[in-house]
């Protein structure tokens, strides 16, 4: 499709999404909200996997950490202000990412996969075995954060459509941010590191610093998703830090197509939708309880036959000639 249309399309989609609450279904709106939140989560991982070439199997650590941060910041029956609790949650994630990044970035490849998994598990055990966040029972967030300007309520997050708009806004903001960053010289350097780390170092780039910056940003953005998810469920427990969560988000990135931001969002939507469909008891009865079996098979098939993801599939239909000016 020509580039004029390509530029216009995201805004069009955004507009459509913004109008969605006019469809009077709370259920679908909440489902779509979940998709938007997972879209943020997936984009944050795509920065790391698709653009920097670092495969992390512990990304749920930041997702969960933000949720727990919110739970711990929220007083028992009062609302906490979103203005400072969201940045605080992001800050906690960024700090944790910075510290673990300095350790895990000393490894590569398969080691990196294993140590990122291990650190996420460590965090899982911290929340599971100690009383910090209510142990294995988890903690409730009885009152959702408040978004006030002085005494005036900017939004009431208890209302599904207003929460939906917040999620949509944050997803669009994350997308724009990443789009700018990845088009910058910093982003090009990350891609260079993914394609040929050795040469980047030989050219004089302090590779470690770039990777650490990417790792930290990635963790911080995942924190936005984790915060929103915790607000939506009103509940956190150690499962949000589990490797099932890490595996799921990795799947979303690959399903959508690594290295394309919009692909990650699409992958997230498809994955959430699939999960919803497979576990629908009305359609599948008893089998719905074991929906993970079908999901597992689906994941195996994607790994074997759809390595470029859905975005890659779409590219095949466009089939650009090889000599066209392209730098990705």
């Amino acid at each position: 499709m020509n580039s004029r249309l390509q530029q216009f399309l995201p805004w069009f989609v955004l507009g459509l999404l913004a109008l969605f609450p006019l469809v009077e279904s709370t259920f679908y709106m909440q489902l779509l909200t979940k998709m938007l939140i997972m879209g943020i989560f997936a984009m944050s991982l795509d920065l790391l996997v698709g653009y920097t070439g670092l495969v992390s199997f512990g990304h749920a650590a930041y997702f969960g950490l933000a949720g727990y941060a919110l739970a711990l910041m929220t007083p028992k029956y009062e609302a906490v202000s979103l203005w400072w609790s969201l940045p605080a949650a992001i800050g906690v994630c960024a700090l944790f990412a910075l510290i673990t990044g300095m350790l895990v970035l000393r490894t590569r490849g398969i080691y990196f996969i294993m140590v990122t998994l291990a650190f996420a598990q460590m965090l899982f055990f911290v929340f599971h075995d100690t009383k910090l966040g209510g142990g294995s029972d988890g903690a409730y967030i009885y009152v959702k954060p408040a978004l006030k300007l002085g005494d005036f309520d900017l939004a009431n997050l208890e209302k599904p459509e207003q929460f939906y708009w917040l999620a949509l806004f944050l997803m669009a903001a994350t997308y724009l941010l990443l789009h700018r960053v990845l088009g910058s010289s910093f982003g090009r350097a990350l891609l260079g590191i993914k394609v040929n780390e050795h040469r980047m170092r030989a050219l004089g780039f302090p590779v470690f610093r770039y990777q650490l910056a990417s790792f930290t940003l990635s963790g911080a953005l995942a924190g936005i998703a984790g915060y929103l998810a915790a607000v939506q469920y009103g509940f956190v427990n150690p499962e949000i830090l589990s490797w099932h969560q890490s595996g799921a988000v990795l799947m979303m990135v690959i399903l959508g197509g690594m290295g394309t931001l919009y692909g990650s969002v699409i992958g997230a939507c498809v994955f959430v939708l699939l999960q919803e469909v497979l576990s629908n008891q009305a359609w599948f009865g008893v089998a719905a309880k074991h929906w993970q079996l079908a999901m597992g098979i689906f994941i195996i098939l994607v790994a074997l036959y759809l390595p470029q993801g859905l975005a890659g599939l779409a590219q095949k239909f466009r089939s650009k000639p090889v000599t066209e000016v392209a730098d990705e």
């Binding site: 996997v49 291990a118 055990f125 595996g247 999901m295 597992g296 994941i299």
Partner: protein, 288 residues
């Protein structure tokens, strides 16, 4: 802590470490020869345990169950290699991670469908159901000593395989190099199938013999897998020697940790890993 108590913890720690070694060596072998990271490795540990339990319930004897289960897991391993893992050899680790993650989900659900979600105990074989007295009041279970003994035997067999055979030579050279293997005049497809089957059979066997001590329960696979990863990171991937050193270290650290500092015992393993990452990121015996 008096001496007898210390001795018991020491023996427990060593036994746990040796068991970890069994599982970790399977993982590191598969990676060393074929370059595949298998997240579902822990699932085979679980499969072994559940097979042992269900066959023991059927036959009334754990020993018989294990003798039946071993060939079953070998066949399972060969089948999976032929059907699935064969397609992963030249692929990026990313896809191996994804595929084996999907496999974990499949295994968990199949286990749930076939054997249910309850926790089950497994009886120790009658022959080994005794204790050796250490002091007036304390005695040590023979079965635990038997496990340690079997693990040591297998470790010795692995040592022989690694040090004294041509296949072992390839492992030591870190060969995931098909041409090199083929130049030894062996059918590479067969080698890969057998090595993979051996790798997961080790994990499954560990699950089988440990079943009386740990019971069989749904999450046992993922629990052991994460620890295995830490073992491999600390020991150095592809190094069986490293796997032994790291397994023993972790076995002892966890066991003593649980009696001395139970609140933070779960974290000890990760602190050790972090220390190794700072000091020697390629692992204690890894190649830099």
């Amino acid at each position: 802590m008096d001496f007898a108590f210390f001795l018991i913890q020491l023996l427990n720690g060593l036994q746990y470490g040796l068991l970890l070694f069994l599982v970790a060596s399977g993982l590191t072998l598969v990676f060393g020869i074929m370059g595949i990271i298998n997240l579902a490795h822990g699932s085979f540990y679980m499969v072994g345990a559940y097979l042992a339990w269900s066959l023991a319930s059927l036959t009334g004897s754990l020993t018989a169950a294990i003798l039946l289960a071993i060939p079953l897991t070998v066949v399972l391993g060969m089948a999976l290699e032929r059907l699935l893992f064969r397609h992963l050899y030249q692929r990026d680790h990313l896809y191996q991670v994804l595929l084996t993650y999907g496999l974990i989900l499949v295994f968990e659900e199949l286990r749930s469908l076939i054997w249910g979600d309850d926790v089950h105990g497994v009886a120790v074989p009658a022959l080994l159901n005794a204790s050796i007295p250490l002091t007036e009041n304390l005695s040590y279970p023979v079965y635990r000593l038997a496990i340690s003994g079997v693990c040591l035997l297998l470790a010795a067999a692995l040592y022989f395989l690694i040090q004294k055979t041509r296949l072992g030579m390839m492992i030591r050279a870190g060969a995931s190099n098909r041409d090199m293997v083929q130049s030894l005049g062996i059918d590479i497809k067969l080698i890969y199938t057998l090595v993979f089957a051996l790798g997961i059979a080790l994990a499954a066997f560990a699950g089988m013999i440990n079943a009386p001590l740990s019971s069989v329960f749904p999450n046992m696979g993922s629990q052991v897998l994460i620890i295995c990863f830490v073992v491999v990171v600390i020991g150095g991937i592809g190094s069986v020697k490293g796997a032994m050193a790291a397994s023993l270290m972790i076995g002892l650290a966890e066991t003593f940790g649980q009696v001395l500092v139970p609140e933070v015992a779960g974290m000890i393993v990760y602190v050790l890993m972090a220390m190794v990452l700072v000091w020697r990121p390629e692992g204690l015996f890894g190649r830099s």
